[in-house]
Symmetry: C2
Subunit: 197 residues, 2 copies
């Protein structure tokens, strides 16, 4: 009997699932969370925006809670460590990343902030999205410039690495729009750099 590839093994008989449906469902959930909040993100509204049937949703996730967890987990946060050649450039690049590129992430997170306090699974995936890669990237930048001698050895790395994303998140969630680039540069020049030197 011929060996079956793992892919062929996993493939079931019958019509295969359209990968685009899953992607459009998760994107629709994220959009609706931002626009209408958790309660306003009904299964019917998700199906309508994703242009699919409700059955396509329940075929993939058993409950609404699992669906939202999947949508939050699908928020990809680029964790690239910037390398512009200067300390200031790296810090501005990293901070700008939180403020602008993660606008969608922060908005989705702000919309489920209340549920995070009551859903362990949701809290875990949310923390993994925000508190993980971004803080690690900023930490790596600062520590690299410690090695270069541009940042003092006893600088409050963890404090700053946690403060910048927190402030960006707080600002975005409270004002409901991304930080201005000027404000980001000002924060780096007036707050971050003085604290590190």
């Amino acid at each position: 009997m011929g060996a079956m590839s793992a892919e062929a093994m996993a493939r079931q008989a019958g019509r295969p699932r359209d990968p685009g449906v899953e992607a459009s469902i998760l994107a629709a959930v994220q959009d609706l969370l931002i626009e209408s909040g958790y309660a306003g993100t009904t299964i019917g509204a998700v199906a309508e925006r994703a242009r699919c049937g409700r059955s396509a949703i329940y075929r993939r996730w058993e409950t609404k809670a699992e669906l939202v967890v999947a949508a939050v987990g699908a928020l990809q946060v680029a964790a690239e460590v910037p390398d512009t050649g200067t300390l200031r450039g790296d810090l501005v690049a990293a901070a700008m990343h939180f403020a602008n590129a993660d606008d969608r992430t922060a908005s989705v997170l702000a919309s489920i902030l209340s549920e995070i306090g009551r859903d362990d699974e949701l809290r875990d995936v949310a923390y993994r999205v925000v508190g993980g890669p971004p803080v690690a990237a900023l930490t790596a930048v600062i520590e690299r410039w410690i090695d270069e001698g541009q940042v003092r050895a006893n600088a409050p790395v963890a404090l700053i690495a946690g403060l910048v994303p927190t402030a960006a998140f707080g600002s975005v969630s409270l004002r409901r729009r991304a930080l201005e680039p000027d404000a980001v540069v000002q924060m780096v020049d007036e707050v971050v750099l003085p604290a590190l030197r």
Copy 2:
């Protein structure tokens, strides 16, 4: 005909309202917002916790939206300008105020963050609670120490005055608990003071 006092004029015939009922309702709304979020804060749950009837609530506010606005507006934020005699002491006192005393305020605000984005009235009262007195108090502290010569004249006053409450709010709302006093002191020493001198 004898002159009527304004108080007597306002007093209606019939059983007067119990002022304690209004207070317990608003407190119950705040508690429930923190524990159960906006959707979980049902009129029935509020009445049960406040030990009153649902009619007592609808007699005072026409809709749930108005009730929540009143509960948020009832969050009193002390706007005292600390005067400890030293710049560092004043900054620590002000920052500690946001981090600890306003724990309840930040939790309530975090619970309605999603609704704030869609309810103008709610956004206004929320901003009035957080973005008003606290920022003004911190601004006053810094400007006073500019006059004393301890803070440089071109210091980024507005940036710092906005950053500290924002960071405290972001931290409380994300971690769902108050900031440690050590963390507050560290933030003042490592971030705020270097930025101001």
